[in-house]
Every structure is written in C-alpha cells, then in structure tokens.
Symmetry: C3
Subunit: 428 residues, 3 copies
Amino acid sequence: MSSSVFEEIHSELKALRLIDPHTHINPHAAASTTLADILGYHYYTELAHSAGMPRQQIEEADLAPQEKVGRLIPWLRTIENTAQYSWLLEMCREFFGFEEERITVDNWESLYESSLSRMSQPDWEQQVLEQSGLDQVYLTNDFDDPLTGFDTSLYVPCLRTDDLVFHCGRREVRERLQQATGTTVTGTESMRAAIGELFRHFTANGARACAISLPPDFIPAAVSDASADGVIGHVFSGGVADRDQMILLSQFVFWTLADFCDQFGMPFDLMIGVNRRVYEDGVFQGQDLFDSRVSLIQYKALLNAFPRVRFPISVLAETSNQELVSYSWIFPNVITSGHWWYSNIPVFIERDTRARLQAVPATKQIGYYSDMYKLEFALPKFGMYRRILSRVLASEFVIDRNWSVDRAVGLGKQILRGNVESIFGARS
Amino acid sequence: MSSSVFEEIHSELKALRLIDPHTHINPHAAASTTLADILGYHYYTELAHSAGMPRQQIEEADLAPQEKVGRLIPWLRTIENTAQYSWLLEMCREFFGFEEERITVDNWESLYESSLSRMSQPDWEQQVLEQSGLDQVYLTNDFDDPLTGFDTSLYVPCLRTDDLVFHCGRREVRERLQQATGTTVTGTESMRAAIGELFRHFTANGARACAISLPPDFIPAAVSDASADGVIGHVFSGGVADRDQMILLSQFVFWTLADFCDQFGMPFDLMIGVNRRVYEDGVFQGQDLFDSRVSLIQYKALLNAFPRVRFPISVLAETSNQELVSYSWIFPNVITSGHWWYSNIPVFIERDTRARLQAVPATKQIGYYSDMYKLEFALPKFGMYRRILSRVLASEFVIDRNWSVDRAVGLGKQILRGNVESIFGARS
Amino acid sequence: MSSSVFEEIHSELKALRLIDPHTHINPHAAASTTLADILGYHYYTELAHSAGMPRQQIEEADLAPQEKVGRLIPWLRTIENTAQYSWLLEMCREFFGFEEERITVDNWESLYESSLSRMSQPDWEQQVLEQSGLDQVYLTNDFDDPLTGFDTSLYVPCLRTDDLVFHCGRREVRERLQQATGTTVTGTESMRAAIGELFRHFTANGARACAISLPPDFIPAAVSDASADGVIGHVFSGGVADRDQMILLSQFVFWTLADFCDQFGMPFDLMIGVNRRVYEDGVFQGQDLFDSRVSLIQYKALLNAFPRVRFPISVLAETSNQELVSYSWIFPNVITSGHWWYSNIPVFIERDTRARLQAVPATKQIGYYSDMYKLEFALPKFGMYRRILSRVLASEFVIDRNWSVDRAVGLGKQILRGNVESIFGARS
C-alpha cells in the first residue's frame, strides 16, 4: 500500500509546473548545444578528475566539444554509482532517447549524434522548458549585468553580490561597480549610493532576490560609518587592505545590502558555508569545499536587525541542517531553502526534508532549486527531489499520520512551488 | 510481520506506567485549566510567531484565555505539518473527544467549550495522570522553592541551578540565595555553606536530582578558593564583575554543586548546549537557540573529578549525539538522557535511539522525559517516543537479531522506566 | 522482493574472500588462545566498566584467563543490546558452536571449555582465516618492528607512525628510533635519514602503507628546516620542549613522512580525530574519546602538497563523514576508508555507506577494515558491514535504480575488496 500511496503522490507532484528559484543559467544561452555542455558541468569534470583524469585533458584551449566528451566518457565507469551519474543517465534517456544501461566508450558516439540533432533544433530551449515543466527560472546575475535581451518574466534576475562583499579589493570589481552605477566611490555615502543604484536597476528589471554565498567564518556585523569610511576610501583609491580591514569592508557592504533588501522588499538568499579554492589544482569550479564548523549563531545580529527581510537560507554542510530547522522555527525571517551542492544527494536530502517537515511552518520552506548552469539539469534534479519528497509525504503523513493523499499532495505542492511564489512574489 | 511485531511491542509499552524524569510542572497547578494553557505552550506560540503572528497579539496584558486561543487558531494552518501540531491534535482527541481532522477557525470554539468542561472537573488533574499512566512527575524547582503544599512523592522535587551558576551577578538572585539559606555570602566558605543548605533542604524534601542547562561555550573547571574568594566577595557586595570574573564564578559554583551531588548521592542532570535570548524579540520562552559547535570534551575535567556522581546528559544539538553515545560507552558516570527540545522530533529521536541502543549499556539510558509545563503533554510526547522506540525494537532486535518480542519489550521497559528508577531512586 | 534481492546480493558478497586492510593483529599470536583474548578486547572491558565493573577486577596482575572471563560474564547482561555484544554472540556461534540465546553466568563455563578445545587445536589460526575468508591481513607495526618470523604476504606490514610524530619527546621513543635506524638524530638532515631508513626497511619487507591516528586539533604544515633544526637538536639532546615546539616537531615529522610516502609510492592512512586519555581512569585501551569539532580543511595544505600520495582517510566522528565524502569527491588523492571505532556501529555505517556510494567515485572507497586485535573478530565485523552494504545495494541500486543484481554485486565486490587491491597493491 505504501508504494501505491507513493505512486499517487508522485504522479501528482510530477504534473506540477515548477519555478526554479536559484540557478546559474545564462539567459542568452540557456540550453545546451552539445553533450559537452552537459558533461562539462563541474559535477562530472570534478568527479572524473577525482577518479584520475588529468585536469589538462579537458581544460586544453580550443578543445572541440566532441573531443572533450570523448575524453570524459572513459571515466564515467568510475562514477556510475553516483547520484550525479544518475542525473546524466536520466537526461540522456528523457531528452535524447538513450536506452542503454550505461554510457560507455562503445556507445557514446551515437548518443553524441542523437543528442546533437535534438539540441540543434531551433526550439530546443522551449522543448526543454516544456518537458521539464518549468514556468520560471531564477538567475544569478553579476551586479553589472545590463539585464537586457531576454525575457525577465521567464528568466528572473537576481542580484548576485559575492563580488561586492568579498572582492572590492580587486581593481576590476571596483571599476565595474563605479561604471555600472555611474558613481565614484570614496566612502560610505557614495558606496551606499552605488549599491542603491544597483537595487534600482535590478528591481526595475524584475529582480526577485539578492543572493550571496558566504564562507564559514563570516560573521555579519553593523559597522560604523566612521570606521568604514576610511577603509572604503583607502581601498577605492587603490590601497592594499589588511585582513581586518577587508573583514570590516565585507561587513559594511553586506549590512548595506541587507538594508537595501529591507527598503526594496527584496528577499536576501544566504548560501552559507563555502570555502573557495581549497583544492588549488582542481578543475574549473571544482576547487571549493567547506568547513562544517559553522553556526547560524554567527547571524544573530543580522537576523535581529532586519526582521522584515526574508532570508531564505541554504547551508552547505548537512550538519548545519538542524540549526537551520531550529532557527526557521524561531525566527520569522528565516526560511529553509533547498539542498545545496554537497548536501544535494538523496541521503542528505531525505533526512533534511524530514526534519524540516517535522518542525518548520509549512509556509517557510522552499523545497528545492536546481542550481543548474544549463536548462537540462532541472529535470533530473527536481526529479530526484520529487521522489524523495513523495516518499516522505507517503510514509510520514499518509501512513503514519493518516492524512489523505490529497492533503499530502497539497503540502508537497506548497513546498515545491507555492512558497516560492509567496516568498519571492507570484509569477508576473 | 514486521508491522504486527511493532503492534505487539507497542501495546505492551503503552500499558507501562511511567515516571517522567524531567518536567517544568508547577505542582500547585499541574494540569491545564483552559485550552490557552495548552496552546500557550511556547512550542505553539513560537511556531505561530515564526509563521507570521505578531508577538503582541498574544502577549497583551490581561488577555482572556479564549481570546488568546482565538488569536492563535488561524495560524495553526501553517504548522499542521509539524510534530508539535500532532501532539496538539492527539491531546484534543484523547482528552477532549475531538474527532475532526484539523483544528480550524470554524471548529475551535466547540473544542474550546468541550475542553473547558472537562478541565473544569474537580479531579481533572487525577484524570490526566491516570489516562497518561503517570506514576511520578519530576519537577524543576527554583533553589528557593519552599517545596511545601504538594505531594513530593508524586511531584518529585529537583534542584534547578541555572540561576546560581550563571546569574549571581543579579542582585535579586543573590538576595534569594541568602534569604533561602539564612547565610550571608562573602566568600567561598559561606558560598559552600549556602549551597550545602540548599542540598539539605532539597534532599529533606525528597529531591532526586540537581539540574542545570548550560550554554555551548561553558567549560567546567576546578577553581581555587584563593581566586574565587575575591570574586565572590566583590560580586556579593554589589560589585560589577567582568566577563572573566563571571566565568570564574560560574565555574566555582558549578564545581561546588557537583561536589555536593557527590556528598548527597544526587544525580546531576546536565542539559548542554543552549544559547539564551538569541532572538531578542521572540515570544515568551521562544528566544533561545544554539550553536552546534560544542563538545563533551569540555566536560573532561568534571567527568574525571567526580566518578561517583551520575550525570544524566541531554544534548541540544543532534550532532552531539554521537559524542554522548561514545562518552556514555566509556565513562561509567555518563548516562544518556532523553531527547531535548530542538532534538525532540521523530527524525532525530529515531536516529539517536538507534545509536544509543547499539552502543550504550542498556542500564545507562534514560529513554525519555516530557519537559512539559502542563500535565496534558506527557501523553502525546511519550506517545511519540513510544512509537519510535517500538519501531526500533521491532526492526533491529526482533527482526534483525531474532530476539523474542518479550525480550524486546523488556529492553523497552528498562529504557522507558526501569532505568529512571535505578538511576534516580525507586518510587518512594 | 526487496528481501530476496538482499539475500541474493548478500550470499554473493559472503562468498567473496577478503583482504582486511587495517588491523592490530600480532602476527606471532594472531588467533585467540582462550575466551579471555576475545572478551578482553577493549570493546567489552570498557562497556562492562561503563556499566559498573571496577577496572581493577580485570586488570589485576597475573589474573588467570578463565577467572578474568568469569568476572566479565555477569556484566554482559547490561550490554546485550549493543552491536559489540552481537559480534561476541556471532563469534561464539560460528566458531565454538554456541547455541543459546545469551551468554550467562549459568552457561559460560561450558562455552569456555568448548572454545578452549577449539582454540587449542594446532591449526586454529588457519581455521579462523579459512572460515572468515581472509586472504590477507594488514598489520600496524611499530616503526622498530624487525618484521621477521612471519609470512609478510599473509600478514602485511604497515608502518605505524604515531610515536614518531607525537612522542619524540619521550626518551624511549628517541632511543628506539636511533637504534632501529643506526642513526644519531641531531637535526632535520639526520631525522630525514632515519625516517628514510624506516621506509627502506618496511618496503623491503612488503609494507603496503604508512598509518597514523591524529588528534582533532592537529594541522599539518610544512616547516622550514631552519626552524625544525633547532627543535630537533634540543629534543634529541634530552631538552624539554614547550607546546609550540612539540607542535612544530610533530608537523615536521608528519610532513617528512608524507614526503617519503611520495618517494616510496606508499599510501598514507590518516585516522583523524581521536583524543587520547580523556577518561584517565578507564580500562586498558578504553580511555580515548573525541571532539567532533574537527574539519578536513585542516588538511588543505597537505592534500595540495602531495597530489601523488594516496590518503585513505578514516574519520572518528560521524559528523565528519560528509566532509570526507566531499573531499574525496574533489581531491584525487583522498580515499574514503572504513568505519572507525565509535562510528563502527550499524546506524552510522549505514548512513556513511549511503553517502559514499551516492557521491564518491566507486574506485575511491575502501569499504571496511576490522581494526581487530585477534583474528576471530574479522568474521562478525565484516559480517555486520556486509549485511549493511547488501541492504544499501539492494534498496538503492537494484530497487531504486533498476540495476541488475549482478551489477550491484560487482559494485559491492569492488568496495569490499577490489579497491583494497588497486589502492594498496594486489596480493603478492
């Protein structure tokens, strides 16, 4: 019976159209053009490299797509056990009609051809959106993105702020900021003016969130203008800042962003816990890891200072999930958000989903986002999540608590889509 | 078969009468008088507030009980998914004959009436105790509680020591201590005399444990009289202590309490890991959270120094459970105790229960306590635990290890009740 | 169906012959001679002591084996729930024909006799190896072990380096090092020469790995010869080193070991996270615990500096498993290794196994090692692991992903044995 309850719930959730509230899609090239776009996803290149593939083999300049795929294929045999491989297989089956059990050195070329012919169709992007049931896809835009040339009601802009908070020490970032905002930054006042300009630009173009990824040791704090003024002036006139000054600058910019989120009614996505460039010789985008010794207590001042700002929070370490659940249960402005990166595999998703459903108000949970770089990934990733969610709803709600299937489906729809609309704003 | 094994075990454990070894019951008003006592439990007010209910709506002065309930009811819809809501529903069904699927703005008034008529019966408290199968309920008494006017063999006193350890900086606490003990505290000697007096008073009134909740950064240590003397004198003469002095004072008082536990043969309940007032604008009792970066290694000196004191330990963060299991497996004086607060939801209870049953001597596990403020909560909370325990016993012991149902039930009874008696002393 | 799939997989994995890649076997006395060798394993003595048995009862000088067992038996009743007890029962059943449900004060003497008669057979060691399906057993040898008098193709030497890294402050360790290598250590050059000599000796005798257990606060770092020279000279001339100097010395020796692992193509087993002598009055080998606040980020410099050295890593705290999974997924030189000590119980093994299978290349996972001191323990410990592995393969691969049983068995064999051969070198 349990398994038929699962099927009932799952088929209803499968029929639900989706909004994907966090991706890295380039709206000017949203879908893949060859299998290299798919296999080039860092999840595959880093796993292949981890299994022994030299980085240079796939990062050679001017490597043709088919050649790149050909070099990755032999390594797939070492990662067939992974969840990531199962996404690959599902994409190949669902989008390209692949019917074999595994992708091998013997069969990949015909897969390459068949996928190429599909991806070459002029409406491929539309086909993928349709087959994946995607109504909207949220982006992660550089702060100086002009946000033109694409349909912002389909590809929804979000203001990515990592560079502003952590990399004002780089000349190129300072120049981009000043150029994008027409502002010469010399202190706190002009910095605020510049950031305000970014918010105006983004909200004018339908942006729905401000977003940032944060290292485990970051502690937000209010910084006085007096102390920030000097550092901003120093850094923006090209001076080299020491570690303490950079921390103060990061804190000032971060706090200012939260302030503008408050003014503009914009949710602030916090993705907490990543250490960048831990494996220095790793493949592109395959160098980051984490330190699980992080706590949401570091965000105490922020969460108290901005009660009106909604903070959808993602944690990288699964050991942080109970804190996230508890902080969401207590703080009205904390929202649980998806299953990020190293926590985005079934064993962790299942446990985190159970904890959130058991202890966080149903209105405060954003079930899933794909974090994808290419559109094709929404289908297998949401598919994985939907199966886990359906299983938890079947066993914990229908079987254990005697809920009707309809009621469980209603909860599932709220987690999967309803809350995305209520938290970020309904589809325009 | 597995499900019938579960039923057999569960029905036996359900028939077992209970001792609840940790509650916040007021023995002079143990049972609820209106539904507001139940819905006013911080688990509901904080979840409703988290979902959007302004704190002021329910913390208004002189708010009538029915009005308070009426203001909370609309928010229930946002938390129907939670384990806490399922306790509420179970209480309403078991105690008040409620038969609907959910409590709504349309049906709550009749529930309010029917519950009121039950709770108004003169023997309501006895009915609840009986229906819940409660033989004894341990309290958490302020150190200056006279412990009079109630049956201490039913409501068993326990000495709560948070104020003594952490709040001697408050004039009111110092005055309460000196008044309760007839002692003028000026240094280590008089402090020891005062605390000794508390132990005499409590043990004379049948107290079974000393208890304290501790922040994640607390590290017990022996403090020399020489260094403590000055600080005690300074603080008790109204001086303001700095952070280091307050830590030293806390360590001194804590260590002295452990010493008296040793002298009086009293278990010392340690509830490790809570940060107070993290969410400053939260509802009453809904402001505390935690930092999961805590380790039992912080208690190394204490556990080595007091081998004869039994330390039932509760951890707030589920990530601390493996340490608790391992420390209980190694240290004779460490006992696993219940599933505390943010860890008191099924997904964590289940996993923690499995780990404890797999690696801690059966004699050293206190399965559960309700932590309740009103008597009605024991029934659904112990109910939740009993179902999880029965499931683990069925699958891991009867199915996987071929134990008989009787033997599994025996283990369950020991965890649920037997150990409470052997560790805190049998019912008098 | 799921259960028959489990049976099919399990019976295939049960038939697989094993290599046990980490044990503490003494090759000159590999098997037990009496039940005291088995019950004297620290897992039983520490649990019995934890349950109340005074340490002195079993650590008395010249205690006869049968008397020692007789003193431990009454305490077994308190630990029948544990996984460790289930290993004991399985050994007694499989090796000694024990047929009762539990080992008690009434039946242990006949068990003692029957086990003694089996263990007294001249080929007992061979019988155990055969019945357990063991092809090879890796050892953990002191650095000054002559490695003579045993078959190193059956009992494979591994260089244990805890003493070198952490205990050069002890005169006896310094003397052993200098004597074993014929080197007078006075600075970095002679230290390198001595360590090089150890590597030559061990590899000449078929050693397959260098191994070390590390405390949670250890942070490997490259140390300049200039700064290490002085400390080595000071310590090796009998000087007392302060804490900072000892850390520097540990870092220098550790880094030098990694360097030689690189030169000699030797894997370096890192067992991360143990605090020694936490419970000072514990039984022999029953005093160590841990602090779960540890991160693999501490190993960043090491992992980047030695890309060619394979590092099979074991973590003591289960909360570190996700980091281990993620670091193995990114770093080519990180390999997940077994389920160590306090994490070696089913609830943790199951979860860790699922996470590793879902996210780490199949080629980079060493499923299990027994960590045993006596040969008889491989059978129940590998038995426990094999059941869990079979269950995960059945549910996640055959049921959820539609793999054939054969394919799932293939993955299981790779995890259980194939990778041991490919990582440490095939059986010679």
